[in-house]
Protein backbone atom coordinates (compact mmCIF):
# COMPACT_ATOMS: atom_id res chain seq x y z
CA UNK A 1 0.00 0.00 0.00
CA UNK A 2 1.43 3.42 -0.95
CA UNK A 3 2.59 5.94 1.58
CA UNK A 4 1.87 9.63 1.12
CA UNK A 5 3.06 12.65 3.07
CA UNK A 6 0.42 14.47 5.10
CA UNK A 7 1.90 17.75 6.36
CA UNK A 8 -0.98 18.34 8.75
CA UNK A 9 0.00 15.12 10.55
CA UNK A 10 3.72 15.75 10.16
CA UNK A 11 4.34 12.27 8.77
CA UNK A 12 3.81 9.73 6.02
CA UNK A 13 0.55 7.84 6.12
CA UNK A 14 -1.09 4.96 4.26
CA UNK A 15 -3.39 5.83 1.36
CA UNK A 16 -4.75 3.62 -1.44
CA UNK A 17 -3.24 5.73 -4.23
CA UNK A 18 0.19 7.16 -4.98
CA UNK A 19 0.76 10.86 -4.40
CA UNK A 20 -0.46 13.08 -7.21
CA UNK A 21 -1.05 16.74 -6.62
CA UNK A 22 -2.83 19.56 -8.43
CA UNK A 23 -1.02 22.71 -9.59
CA UNK A 24 -3.19 24.82 -7.34
CA UNK A 25 -5.57 23.98 -4.54
CA UNK A 26 -8.94 25.52 -3.73
CA UNK A 27 -8.57 26.46 -0.05
CA UNK A 28 -10.43 28.75 2.29
CA UNK A 29 -10.55 30.17 5.80
CA UNK A 30 -13.63 30.52 8.01
CA UNK A 31 -13.42 32.84 11.01
CA UNK A 32 -15.65 31.08 13.53
CA UNK A 33 -15.46 34.01 15.94
CA UNK A 34 -17.69 36.17 13.76
CA UNK A 35 -20.36 33.73 12.57
CA UNK A 36 -23.93 34.34 13.76
CA UNK A 37 -25.37 31.30 11.95
CA UNK A 38 -27.69 33.39 9.82
CA UNK A 39 -27.55 30.49 7.30
CA UNK A 40 -27.37 32.86 4.33
CA UNK A 41 -24.50 30.74 3.00
CA UNK A 42 -26.59 27.61 3.47
CA UNK A 43 -29.49 29.03 1.51
CA UNK A 44 -27.26 30.51 -1.19
CA UNK A 45 -25.87 27.03 -1.84
CA UNK A 46 -29.25 25.34 -1.54
CA UNK A 47 -30.95 27.69 -3.98
CA UNK A 48 -28.12 27.30 -6.48
CA UNK A 49 -27.33 23.58 -6.47
CA UNK A 50 -29.67 21.40 -4.42
CA UNK A 51 -33.23 22.60 -4.99
CA UNK A 52 -34.39 19.67 -7.12
CA UNK A 53 -36.29 16.48 -6.48
CA UNK A 54 -34.25 13.96 -4.56
CA UNK A 55 -32.01 16.65 -3.11
CA UNK A 56 -34.38 17.82 -0.41
CA UNK A 57 -32.18 16.67 2.47
CA UNK A 58 -28.92 17.78 0.86
CA UNK A 59 -27.14 20.69 2.50
CA UNK A 60 -23.76 20.88 0.81
CA UNK A 61 -23.14 23.91 3.00
CA UNK A 62 -24.44 23.76 6.55
CA UNK A 63 -23.75 25.65 9.75
CA UNK A 64 -24.16 23.65 12.93
CA UNK A 65 -24.08 24.62 16.59
CA UNK A 66 -21.28 23.04 18.55
CA UNK A 67 -20.92 21.35 20.97
CA UNK A 68 -24.38 19.83 20.69
CA UNK A 69 -25.33 20.04 17.02
CA UNK A 70 -24.30 18.23 13.88
CA UNK A 71 -25.52 17.25 10.45
CA UNK A 72 -25.91 14.36 10.00
CA UNK A 73 -26.50 13.96 13.70
CA UNK A 74 -23.35 13.31 15.76
CA UNK A 75 -21.22 12.77 12.64
CA UNK A 76 -17.97 13.72 14.34
CA UNK A 77 -18.61 12.14 17.72
CA UNK A 78 -19.45 8.85 16.00
CA UNK A 79 -16.27 8.72 13.95
CA UNK A 80 -14.08 9.81 16.85
CA UNK A 81 -15.56 6.96 18.87
CA UNK A 82 -14.86 4.48 16.05
CA UNK A 83 -11.24 5.60 15.84
CA UNK A 84 -10.89 5.31 19.59
CA UNK A 85 -12.25 1.77 19.46
CA UNK A 86 -9.82 0.90 16.67
CA UNK A 87 -6.86 2.37 18.54
CA UNK A 88 -7.72 2.67 22.25
CA UNK A 89 -5.79 5.45 23.96
CA UNK A 90 -3.49 5.87 20.98
CA UNK A 91 -4.99 8.85 19.16
CA UNK A 92 -2.35 11.30 20.36
CA UNK A 93 0.06 13.93 19.05
CA UNK A 94 3.79 14.05 19.69
CA UNK A 95 4.40 17.70 20.47
CA UNK A 96 8.19 17.65 20.68
CA UNK A 97 9.36 20.97 19.21
CA UNK A 98 10.49 20.90 15.58
CA UNK A 99 11.70 23.62 13.28
CA UNK A 100 10.39 21.88 10.18
CA UNK A 101 7.87 24.03 8.27
CA UNK A 102 6.31 20.82 7.00
CA UNK A 103 5.50 19.75 10.58
CA UNK A 104 3.62 22.78 11.89
CA UNK A 105 1.45 21.12 14.53
CA UNK A 106 3.57 18.20 15.75
CA UNK A 107 3.40 14.57 14.68
CA UNK A 108 0.17 12.62 14.93
CA UNK A 109 0.98 9.19 16.30
CA UNK A 110 -2.51 7.75 16.18
CA UNK A 111 -4.33 6.11 13.31
CA UNK A 112 -6.08 7.87 10.46
CA UNK A 113 -9.30 6.61 8.89
CA UNK A 114 -7.16 4.88 6.25
CA UNK A 115 -4.86 3.22 8.77
CA UNK A 116 -7.51 2.20 11.29
CA UNK A 117 -9.42 0.17 8.71
CA UNK A 118 -6.19 -1.35 7.47
CA UNK A 119 -5.35 -2.63 10.94
CA UNK A 120 -8.87 -3.71 11.65
CA UNK A 121 -9.60 -5.61 8.47
CA UNK A 122 -6.16 -6.66 7.44
CA UNK A 123 -4.70 -8.87 10.17
CA UNK A 124 -3.16 -11.31 7.69
CA UNK A 125 -1.13 -8.69 5.90
CA UNK A 126 -3.31 -8.55 2.82
CA UNK A 127 -2.77 -5.56 0.62
CA UNK A 128 -5.02 -2.62 1.29
CA UNK A 129 -7.06 -2.72 -1.88
CA UNK A 130 -7.98 -6.38 -1.42
CA UNK A 131 -9.84 -5.78 1.80
CA UNK A 132 -13.56 -5.25 1.74
CA UNK A 133 -13.33 -1.76 3.25
CA UNK A 134 -10.81 0.90 2.37
CA UNK A 135 -11.70 3.61 4.84
CA UNK A 136 -13.04 3.57 8.39
CA UNK A 137 -16.47 5.13 8.28
CA UNK A 138 -20.18 4.54 8.63
CA UNK A 139 -23.34 5.10 6.65
CA UNK A 140 -25.67 7.46 8.52
CA UNK A 141 -29.21 6.19 9.00
CA UNK A 142 -32.06 8.09 7.38
CA UNK A 143 -33.14 9.74 10.62
CA UNK A 144 -29.66 11.16 11.09
CA UNK A 145 -30.15 13.22 7.94
CA UNK A 146 -33.39 14.75 9.18
CA UNK A 147 -34.02 18.19 10.62
CA UNK A 148 -30.68 19.99 10.40
CA UNK A 149 -30.32 22.53 13.21
CA UNK A 150 -33.67 21.78 14.75
CA UNK A 151 -33.72 23.11 18.31
CA UNK A 152 -29.96 23.46 18.32
CA UNK A 153 -30.28 27.08 19.29
CA UNK A 154 -33.84 27.74 20.23
CA UNK A 155 -35.19 24.91 22.29
CA UNK A 156 -37.83 27.33 23.53
CA UNK A 157 -40.32 29.11 21.35
CA UNK A 158 -39.61 32.79 20.71
CA UNK A 159 -41.28 35.57 22.63
CA UNK A 160 -44.64 35.99 20.86
CA UNK A 161 -44.82 39.71 21.51
CA UNK A 162 -41.83 40.17 19.21
CA UNK A 163 -42.26 37.12 16.95
CA UNK A 164 -46.02 36.60 16.58
CA UNK A 165 -45.61 33.93 13.92
CA UNK A 166 -43.68 31.75 16.35
CA UNK A 167 -46.76 29.79 17.37
CA UNK A 168 -46.72 27.55 20.40
CA UNK A 169 -43.73 25.48 19.36
CA UNK A 170 -42.11 23.25 21.90
CA UNK A 171 -40.43 23.89 25.18
CA UNK A 172 -37.29 21.94 25.93
CA UNK A 173 -34.55 22.81 28.41
CA UNK A 174 -32.52 25.73 27.10
CA UNK A 175 -28.80 25.17 26.50
CA UNK A 176 -26.99 27.27 29.07
CA UNK A 177 -23.41 26.87 28.06
CA UNK A 178 -20.81 28.20 25.69
CA UNK A 179 -21.34 27.40 22.03
CA UNK A 180 -20.02 28.25 18.62
CA UNK A 181 -21.12 27.85 15.06
CA UNK A 182 -19.23 25.49 12.76
CA UNK A 183 -19.49 26.24 9.05
CA UNK A 184 -19.10 23.16 6.90
CA UNK A 185 -18.72 22.46 3.21
CA UNK A 186 -16.74 19.75 1.42
CA UNK A 187 -13.08 20.17 2.39
CA UNK A 188 -11.82 19.21 -1.08
CA UNK A 189 -9.25 17.15 0.76
CA UNK A 190 -5.77 16.45 -0.51
CA UNK A 191 -6.33 12.76 0.29
CA UNK A 192 -10.12 12.42 0.03
CA UNK A 193 -11.78 9.56 1.88
CA UNK A 194 -14.57 9.54 -0.72
CA UNK A 195 -12.10 9.14 -3.58
CA UNK A 196 -10.22 6.37 -1.75
CA UNK A 197 -13.40 4.40 -1.15
CA UNK A 198 -15.09 4.62 -4.56
CA UNK A 199 -15.05 1.16 -6.15
CA UNK A 200 -15.73 2.69 -9.58
CA UNK A 201 -13.02 5.35 -9.47
CA UNK A 202 -15.78 7.81 -10.24
CA UNK A 203 -14.35 10.46 -7.93
CA UNK A 204 -11.43 12.57 -9.03
CA UNK A 205 -9.44 15.61 -8.02
CA UNK A 206 -9.04 18.26 -10.71
CA UNK A 207 -5.41 18.98 -11.58
CA UNK A 208 -6.01 22.69 -12.11
CA UNK A 209 -7.58 23.57 -8.77
CA UNK A 210 -7.80 20.45 -6.57
CA UNK A 211 -11.61 20.46 -6.55
CA UNK A 212 -13.00 16.98 -5.79
CA UNK A 213 -15.83 15.94 -8.09
CA UNK A 214 -18.03 12.88 -8.64
CA UNK A 215 -18.33 11.83 -12.28
CA UNK A 216 -22.08 11.39 -12.56
CA UNK A 217 -21.68 9.09 -15.58
CA UNK A 218 -19.45 6.61 -13.76
CA UNK A 219 -21.20 6.77 -10.39
CA UNK A 220 -23.53 3.85 -9.68
CA UNK A 221 -24.67 5.04 -6.27
CA UNK A 222 -22.94 2.39 -4.15
CA UNK A 223 -22.62 5.01 -1.40
CA UNK A 224 -19.11 3.97 -0.45
CA UNK A 225 -18.18 7.65 -0.58
CA UNK A 226 -21.01 8.53 1.79
CA UNK A 227 -19.71 5.90 4.18
CA UNK A 228 -16.08 6.95 3.84
CA UNK A 229 -16.20 10.75 3.93
CA UNK A 230 -15.37 11.53 7.55
CA UNK A 231 -17.11 14.90 7.26
CA UNK A 232 -20.22 13.32 5.69
CA UNK A 233 -20.26 15.71 2.76
CA UNK A 234 -21.00 13.18 0.05
CA UNK A 235 -24.73 12.53 -0.20
CA UNK A 236 -26.85 9.98 -2.01
CA UNK A 237 -29.64 11.05 -4.36
CA UNK A 238 -32.38 8.48 -4.67
CA UNK A 239 -33.95 9.96 -7.81
CA UNK A 240 -30.79 9.58 -9.90
CA UNK A 241 -29.22 6.72 -7.91
CA UNK A 242 -25.95 8.56 -7.75
CA UNK A 243 -24.07 10.38 -5.05
CA UNK A 244 -23.54 14.14 -5.15
CA UNK A 245 -21.39 16.62 -3.31
CA UNK A 246 -20.18 20.23 -3.22
CA UNK A 247 -18.56 21.17 -6.52
CA UNK A 248 -16.85 24.30 -5.17
CA UNK A 249 -19.02 26.29 -7.62
CA UNK A 250 -16.38 25.44 -10.22
CA UNK A 251 -17.96 27.49 -13.03
CA UNK A 252 -17.33 30.54 -10.84
CA UNK A 253 -13.90 29.31 -9.84
CA UNK A 254 -12.95 28.97 -13.50
CA UNK A 255 -14.02 32.53 -14.23
CA UNK A 256 -15.69 31.41 -17.43
CA UNK A 257 -19.18 32.76 -16.91
CA UNK A 258 -19.60 35.41 -19.62
CA UNK A 259 -22.13 37.36 -17.58
CA UNK A 260 -20.67 37.20 -14.07
CA UNK A 261 -17.01 37.22 -15.03
CA UNK A 262 -16.69 38.99 -18.36
CA UNK A 263 -13.03 39.70 -17.64
CA UNK A 264 -12.35 36.01 -17.00
CA UNK A 265 -11.16 36.20 -13.40
CA UNK A 266 -12.28 33.66 -10.81
CA UNK A 267 -15.02 34.70 -8.40
CA UNK A 268 -15.92 33.30 -5.01
CA UNK A 269 -18.32 30.42 -4.48
CA UNK A 270 -21.95 31.17 -3.69
CA UNK A 271 -21.60 30.38 0.01
CA UNK A 272 -18.59 32.68 0.35
CA UNK A 273 -20.14 35.49 -1.67
CA UNK A 274 -23.32 35.43 0.38
CA UNK A 275 -21.64 35.63 3.79
CA UNK A 276 -23.04 38.71 5.53
CA UNK A 277 -20.91 38.16 8.62
CA UNK A 278 -17.72 38.58 6.60
CA UNK A 279 -16.25 35.41 8.05
CA UNK A 280 -15.13 33.72 4.81
CA UNK A 281 -12.17 34.08 2.52
CA UNK A 282 -11.10 31.77 -0.27
CA UNK A 283 -8.24 31.58 -2.72
CA UNK A 284 -6.17 29.12 -4.70
CA UNK A 285 -2.77 28.21 -3.26
CA UNK A 286 0.13 27.03 -5.38
CA UNK A 287 1.10 23.40 -4.83
CA UNK A 288 4.55 21.96 -5.42
CA UNK A 289 5.17 18.56 -7.04
CA UNK A 290 5.68 17.00 -3.59
CA UNK A 291 2.31 18.30 -2.41
CA UNK A 292 3.67 21.06 -0.21
CA UNK A 293 2.36 24.60 -0.48
CA UNK A 294 4.76 26.78 -2.45
CA UNK A 295 6.10 29.72 -0.49
CA UNK A 296 3.69 32.57 -1.24
CA UNK A 297 3.26 34.85 1.79
CA UNK A 298 1.26 37.41 -0.20
CA UNK A 299 -1.50 34.88 -0.83
CA UNK A 300 -4.08 35.50 1.92
CA UNK A 301 -4.76 31.83 2.65
CA UNK A 302 -1.06 30.90 2.62
CA UNK A 303 -0.35 33.79 4.96
CA UNK A 304 -3.01 32.80 7.50
CA UNK A 305 -2.35 29.05 7.40
CA UNK A 306 1.42 28.84 6.96
CA UNK A 307 2.86 32.15 8.15
CA UNK A 308 0.60 33.23 11.01
CA UNK A 309 -0.80 29.73 11.68
CA UNK A 310 -4.00 31.43 12.78
CA UNK A 311 -6.28 29.11 10.76
CA UNK A 312 -6.37 25.36 11.37
CA UNK A 313 -7.78 22.28 9.63
CA UNK A 314 -10.90 20.54 10.95
CA UNK A 315 -10.11 17.17 12.56
CA UNK A 316 -6.69 16.80 10.95
CA UNK A 317 -6.31 13.45 12.72
CA UNK A 318 -8.81 11.91 10.29
CA UNK A 319 -5.93 12.03 7.80
CA UNK A 320 -7.55 13.44 4.67
CA UNK A 321 -5.59 16.73 4.77
CA UNK A 322 -8.69 18.91 4.44
CA UNK A 323 -8.36 22.29 2.72
CA UNK A 324 -10.86 24.17 4.85
CA UNK A 325 -9.18 26.13 7.64
CA UNK A 326 -10.81 27.64 10.68
CA UNK A 327 -9.86 30.48 13.00
CA UNK A 328 -10.97 28.79 16.24
CA UNK A 329 -13.40 30.49 18.63
CA UNK A 330 -11.44 32.09 21.44
CA UNK A 331 -13.91 31.53 24.29
CA UNK A 332 -14.16 27.74 24.02
CA UNK A 333 -12.22 25.43 26.39
CA UNK A 334 -8.89 24.52 24.81
CA UNK A 335 -9.22 20.75 25.25
CA UNK A 336 -12.35 20.71 23.17
CA UNK A 337 -10.76 22.80 20.44
CA UNK A 338 -7.56 20.74 20.35
CA UNK A 339 -9.57 17.62 19.65
CA UNK A 340 -11.34 19.44 16.84
CA UNK A 341 -8.52 21.48 15.29
CA UNK A 342 -5.34 19.82 16.52
CA UNK A 343 -2.51 21.05 18.72
CA UNK A 344 -2.12 24.36 16.88
CA UNK A 345 -5.07 25.86 18.79
CA UNK A 346 -3.31 27.83 21.58
CA UNK A 347 -1.01 29.55 19.10
CA UNK A 348 -3.87 30.27 16.67
CA UNK A 349 -6.01 31.88 19.34
CA UNK A 350 -3.17 34.04 20.61
CA UNK A 351 -2.36 35.11 17.04
CA UNK A 352 -5.99 36.04 16.47
CA UNK A 353 -6.78 37.81 19.74
CA UNK A 354 -3.78 40.08 19.39
CA UNK A 355 -3.12 40.02 15.65
CA UNK A 356 0.03 41.31 14.01
CA UNK A 357 -0.25 44.50 12.02
CA UNK A 358 -0.36 42.62 8.72
CA UNK A 359 -2.92 40.09 9.96
CA UNK A 360 -5.19 42.80 11.34
CA UNK A 361 -5.16 44.44 7.93
CA UNK A 362 -5.81 41.14 6.15
CA UNK A 363 -8.75 40.32 8.41
CA UNK A 364 -10.51 43.39 6.99
CA UNK A 365 -10.37 41.90 3.49
CA UNK A 366 -12.71 39.02 4.37
CA UNK A 367 -15.69 39.22 2.05
CA UNK A 368 -14.73 42.63 0.79
CA UNK A 369 -15.16 41.67 -2.86
CA UNK A 370 -16.79 38.90 -4.86
CA UNK A 371 -13.65 38.29 -6.84
CA UNK A 372 -11.12 35.85 -5.46
CA UNK A 373 -8.14 37.59 -3.90
CA UNK A 374 -4.93 35.95 -5.11
CA UNK A 375 -2.55 38.46 -3.57
CA UNK A 376 -2.76 41.12 -0.92
CA UNK A 377 -0.52 43.94 0.19
CA UNK A 378 -0.53 46.40 3.08
CA UNK A 379 0.32 50.09 2.89
CA UNK A 380 1.39 51.18 6.35
CA UNK A 381 0.01 54.30 8.03
CA UNK A 382 0.45 55.98 11.39
CA UNK A 383 -0.60 54.52 14.70
CA UNK A 384 -4.16 55.57 15.57
CA UNK A 385 -4.99 53.68 18.72
CA UNK A 386 -4.32 50.86 21.09
CA UNK A 387 -6.29 48.72 23.49
CA UNK A 388 -5.57 46.10 26.07
CA UNK A 389 -6.56 42.56 25.12
CA UNK A 390 -6.77 39.50 27.34
CA UNK A 391 -5.07 36.41 26.00
CA UNK A 392 -6.11 32.86 26.94
CA UNK A 393 -4.71 32.19 30.38
CA UNK A 394 -5.33 35.76 31.51
CA UNK A 395 -2.15 37.34 30.14
CA UNK A 396 -2.62 40.94 28.97
CA UNK A 397 -1.20 42.41 25.80
CA UNK A 398 -1.54 45.72 24.03
CA UNK A 399 -3.12 45.66 20.58
CA UNK A 400 -1.85 48.51 18.44
CA UNK A 401 -4.09 49.81 15.67
CA UNK A 402 -2.58 51.51 12.65
CA UNK A 403 -4.06 53.56 9.85
CA UNK A 404 -3.05 50.78 7.45
CA UNK A 405 -4.59 50.03 4.08
CA UNK A 406 -5.09 46.43 2.91
CA UNK A 407 -5.27 45.95 -0.86
CA UNK A 408 -6.57 42.86 -2.64
CA UNK A 409 -5.60 41.79 -6.18
CA UNK A 410 -7.38 39.40 -8.55
CA UNK A 411 -5.98 36.55 -10.67
CA UNK A 412 -4.71 39.08 -13.22
CA UNK A 413 -2.84 40.94 -10.46
CA UNK A 414 -5.21 43.86 -10.80
CA UNK A 415 -6.26 45.82 -7.73
CA UNK A 416 -9.88 45.00 -6.90
CA UNK A 417 -10.44 46.32 -3.39
CA UNK A 418 -8.78 48.43 -0.72
CA UNK A 419 -9.77 48.92 2.91
CA UNK A 420 -8.31 51.45 5.30
CA UNK A 421 -8.40 51.08 9.07
CA UNK A 422 -9.36 54.45 10.52
CA UNK A 423 -9.08 55.77 14.03
CA UNK A 424 -11.36 53.75 16.33
CA UNK A 425 -14.44 55.49 17.73
CA UNK A 426 -15.05 55.66 21.47
CA UNK A 427 -18.61 56.64 22.29
CA UNK A 428 -19.32 58.08 25.68
CA UNK A 429 -22.20 56.18 27.30
CA UNK A 430 -25.37 58.13 28.02
CA UNK A 431 -24.76 58.37 31.75
CA UNK A 432 -21.44 60.10 31.15
CA UNK A 433 -22.41 62.14 28.10
CA UNK A 434 -22.11 65.52 29.90
CA UNK A 435 -19.32 64.68 32.26
CA UNK A 436 -16.54 66.71 30.66
Amino acid sequence: MPKVYNWQLGRDMLYPYEESHPQRQFAFVFNINRCIACQTCTMACKSTWTFSRGQEYMWWNNVETKPYGGYPHFWDAKLLAMLERANPGGQAWNLAPREDAQVPYGVFEGKTIFEAISEEQNPEGETFRETSGRVLGYLPADEEWTAPNIYEDTARRPDRSRWPWGGEGVSLPQHKTWFFYLQRICNHCTYPGCLAACPRQAIYKRPEDGVVLIDQERCRGYRKCVEACPYKKSMYRGTTRTSEKCIACYPRLEGKDPFLTPDGVPIETRCMTACVGKIRMQSLVKIGKDGSWEHDPDNPIYYMVKEEKVALPLYPQFGTEPNAYYIPPRWVPTDYLVQMFGPGVPHAIEAYVCPSRRLLALLQLFRATQKIIFRFSVVEGRKVGESEVTLPGGRKKTLEIFNDTAIGYDANNREIVRLTVEEPIFERSKQYSNSI
Binding site: N33, D159, T177, T261, I267, S387, V417, P424
Partner: protein, 106 residues
Protein backbone atom coordinates in the same frame (compact mmCIF):
# COMPACT_ATOMS: atom_id res chain seq x y z
CA UNK B 1 -55.12 21.01 28.13
CA UNK B 2 -56.33 18.76 30.94
CA UNK B 3 -54.14 17.18 33.60
CA UNK B 4 -54.16 13.77 32.01
CA UNK B 5 -52.75 15.15 28.76
CA UNK B 6 -50.23 17.27 30.63
CA UNK B 7 -48.90 14.14 32.29
CA UNK B 8 -48.31 12.58 28.89
CA UNK B 9 -46.40 15.54 27.45
CA UNK B 10 -43.04 14.55 25.96
CA UNK B 11 -41.09 16.77 28.31
CA UNK B 12 -42.38 14.77 31.29
CA UNK B 13 -41.35 11.35 30.02
CA UNK B 14 -38.23 9.70 31.34
CA UNK B 15 -35.39 9.36 28.82
CA UNK B 16 -34.93 5.95 27.24
CA UNK B 17 -31.35 5.49 26.14
CA UNK B 18 -32.09 2.86 23.50
CA UNK B 19 -34.30 5.36 21.69
CA UNK B 20 -32.29 6.41 18.59
CA UNK B 21 -34.06 9.77 18.45
CA UNK B 22 -33.54 10.61 22.10
CA UNK B 23 -31.55 13.78 22.62
CA UNK B 24 -28.38 12.95 24.49
CA UNK B 25 -27.00 15.35 27.01
CA UNK B 26 -23.36 15.36 28.05
CA UNK B 27 -21.84 17.46 30.81
CA UNK B 28 -19.50 20.26 29.77
CA UNK B 29 -17.50 20.99 32.87
CA UNK B 30 -15.36 23.82 31.51
CA UNK B 31 -16.14 27.06 29.74
CA UNK B 32 -17.72 30.36 30.61
CA UNK B 33 -20.75 31.77 28.77
CA UNK B 34 -20.04 35.28 30.09
CA UNK B 35 -16.54 35.17 28.60
CA UNK B 36 -18.20 34.13 25.35
CA UNK B 37 -20.45 37.20 25.51
CA UNK B 38 -17.46 39.48 26.07
CA UNK B 39 -15.54 37.93 23.17
CA UNK B 40 -18.51 38.27 20.82
CA UNK B 41 -18.97 41.94 21.75
CA UNK B 42 -15.28 42.52 20.99
CA UNK B 43 -15.70 40.80 17.62
CA UNK B 44 -18.63 42.97 16.60
CA UNK B 45 -16.78 46.07 17.81
CA UNK B 46 -13.90 45.08 15.53
CA UNK B 47 -16.42 44.84 12.71
CA UNK B 48 -17.43 48.43 13.47
CA UNK B 49 -20.74 47.75 15.22
CA UNK B 50 -21.99 50.19 17.86
CA UNK B 51 -23.82 49.67 21.14
CA UNK B 52 -27.34 49.54 19.74
CA UNK B 53 -26.46 47.19 16.90
CA UNK B 54 -24.72 44.76 19.25
CA UNK B 55 -27.58 44.91 21.73
CA UNK B 56 -30.00 44.07 18.94
CA UNK B 57 -28.07 40.85 18.27
CA UNK B 58 -28.55 39.80 21.88
CA UNK B 59 -32.26 40.54 21.56
CA UNK B 60 -32.72 38.11 18.67
CA UNK B 61 -34.40 34.94 19.96
CA UNK B 62 -33.11 32.89 17.05
CA UNK B 63 -29.51 33.64 17.98
CA UNK B 64 -28.30 31.43 20.78
CA UNK B 65 -26.58 34.23 22.72
CA UNK B 66 -30.14 35.39 23.47
CA UNK B 67 -30.18 32.95 26.40
CA UNK B 68 -27.91 35.33 28.34
CA UNK B 69 -30.22 38.23 27.53
CA UNK B 70 -33.14 36.23 28.88
CA UNK B 71 -31.30 35.15 31.98
CA UNK B 72 -29.52 38.31 32.98
CA UNK B 73 -31.69 40.99 31.42
CA UNK B 74 -31.06 43.92 29.09
CA UNK B 75 -29.38 46.07 31.72
CA UNK B 76 -26.67 43.50 32.26
CA UNK B 77 -26.10 43.05 28.51
CA UNK B 78 -25.99 46.79 27.90
CA UNK B 79 -23.51 47.39 30.70
CA UNK B 80 -21.29 44.60 29.39
CA UNK B 81 -21.37 46.15 25.91
CA UNK B 82 -20.55 49.60 27.31
CA UNK B 83 -17.68 48.17 29.30
CA UNK B 84 -16.14 46.48 26.27
CA UNK B 85 -16.64 49.43 23.93
CA UNK B 86 -15.08 51.77 26.49
CA UNK B 87 -12.00 49.56 26.42
CA UNK B 88 -11.73 48.77 22.72
CA UNK B 89 -13.73 51.42 20.88
CA UNK B 90 -15.26 50.29 17.63
CA UNK B 91 -13.20 49.88 14.55
CA UNK B 92 -13.80 52.18 11.62
CA UNK B 93 -12.94 50.94 8.16
CA UNK B 94 -13.32 52.66 4.82
CA UNK B 95 -13.81 50.46 1.77
CA UNK B 96 -13.16 51.05 -1.92
CA UNK B 97 -14.24 48.31 -4.30
CA UNK B 98 -12.85 48.53 -7.82
CA UNK B 99 -14.01 46.57 -10.86
CA UNK B 100 -17.32 45.63 -9.26
CA UNK B 101 -19.08 42.68 -10.82
CA UNK B 102 -21.97 44.00 -12.86
CA UNK B 103 -25.47 42.75 -13.46
CA UNK B 104 -27.65 40.76 -11.12
CA UNK B 105 -26.67 39.37 -7.74
CA UNK B 106 -23.46 37.42 -8.34
Amino acid sequence: MNNELNNRHGRDKEPEFDDPMELVMVPLPAGDPELMATCLIEEYARLGKGEDEILELFRQPIYHIHFLYREKGETWVRSRIEEVLARTGRMRISVTVLHQIGGLDA
